[in-house]
């Protein structure tokens, strides 16, 4: 509290200067009065003179202190500039650390996502033999390329035909409730999923050794489709069948 109540050097200097002014004026007035009235003063002027000397000495000491404070003030200004420079450096460093944190956070996040993907892949892993088996099965259905002995006119397609769909499970399931309603032999046969021998097409390329849909492709040829008497909707869908020598199906041999 004493430190807070302590007057600044400026206030003290101005106060002492005011005292000096008042005392010097009083002394001069007193001397002028005593000379004009020719009355000796009972030592009052001596007291004022002593006070004046004392105040003058105090004033000089305070001026010396003020000059010292001025030098300290210069040093403080230099230190303030140092502090400002350090603050700028710290802010720059803070900015760089923020950027680094952001980059690292992004990298860590991406790494975690990749680890999750790896973990997920490991959990759902499939043996390579099974994948090759499925690939072989897909290739064997002639969906990848045409069979070796395919010629224009062959009703075989890279997709299930109408007859093949009806002879499958879905065809059986769809036709079960209507069994006996339709008395046509071909319809029953179709519903049962069996083709009668009369309706089975016979072509020169067919041999007893060849099972439909099990031949792996070996050649790369382009075929144009114009099968005689074949289903017209299949004709519209397929205009050409190509074989690819770079097919992904494996060699069954």
């Amino acid at each position: 509290m004493a430190a807070l109540a302590e007057k600044s050097t400026k206030e003290r200097l101005l106060s002492v200067l005011d005292d000096l002014e008042v005392l010097s004026r009083e002394l001069i007035e007193m001397l002028a009065l005593s000379r004009s009235q020719k009355l000796p003063q009972p030592g009052e002027d001596t007291q004022i003179l002593e006070l004046l000397v004392q105040r003058d000495k105090e004033f000089q000491e305070l001026m010396a202190v003020a000059q010292q404070q001025g030098k300290v003030h210069q040093e403080m200004q230099l230190l303030e500039k140092e502090v400002e420079k350090r603050d700028r450096d710290i802010q720059q460093l803070q900015k760089q650390l923020k950027e680094a944190e952001h980059i690292l956070a992004t990298a860590v996040y991406q790494a975690k996502e990749k680890l999750k993907s790896i973990d997920k892949a490991r959990k759902g892993s499939i043996s390579s033999e099974e994948i090759i088996k499925y690939a072989h099965r897909i290739s064997a259905s002639n969906a990848v390329c045409a069979p070796l002995n395919w010629v224009p006119g062959d009703p075989r397609r890279p997709y299930p035909t109408d007859l093949e769909m009806r002879s499958g499970l879905l065809g059986h399931m769809a036709n079960l409730p209507t069994n006996g309603v339709n008395g046509h032999l071909p319809g029953d046969a179709l519903a049962a999923g069996r083709l009668p021998d009369v309706l089975t097409p016979h072509y020169p390329w067919q041999s007893s050794d060849v099972s439909v849909g099990m031949l792996p492709p070996h050649h790369s040829n382009d075929f144009s489709l114009e099968p005689p008497g074949h289903n017209k909707e299949n004709e519209d869908d397929v205009e050409a069948m190509s074989t690819d020598s770079s097919s992904s199906s494996s060699d069954s041999d």
Partner: protein, 99 residues
């Protein structure tokens, strides 16, 4: 150091008002017409001293307060230097040694 102290002594004598008061009293004793001139000089000197005091830097606080402010600034500079040195020399990304 001696030169600085001599300069300081001269400056202190320059701001003393006693020589002017003495000149005024001497003029009054001699009944000299210069007494008014001397009075004007004293008045001018007092006014100049007031202006000089107003313009002097660093005297808005007392000497102990100023010393405290100086110590605080020095501490700030020291702390910030330390902080900067710490973070510049800190290596956060030590590469793990291959085992």
């Amino acid at each position: 150091m001696a030169v600085a102290q001599a300069k300081l002594g001269k400056e202190s004598d320059d701001c003393s008002l006693l020589p002017l008061v003495h000149d005024i009293i001497k003029c009054m004793d001699k009944d000299s017409p210069d007494v008014h001139q001397e009075l004007a000089k004293l008045k001018t000197k007092i006014q100049e001293a007031r202006e000089q005091i107003s313009n002097m830097p660093g005297i808005e606080s007392s000497p102990p307060e100023q010393q405290q402010q100086l110590a605080t600034l020095r501490e700030q500079v020291r702390t910030k230097n330390q902080l900067l040195q710490k973070y510049k020399s800190l290596c956060m990304f030590d590469a793990p040694k291959a085992s």
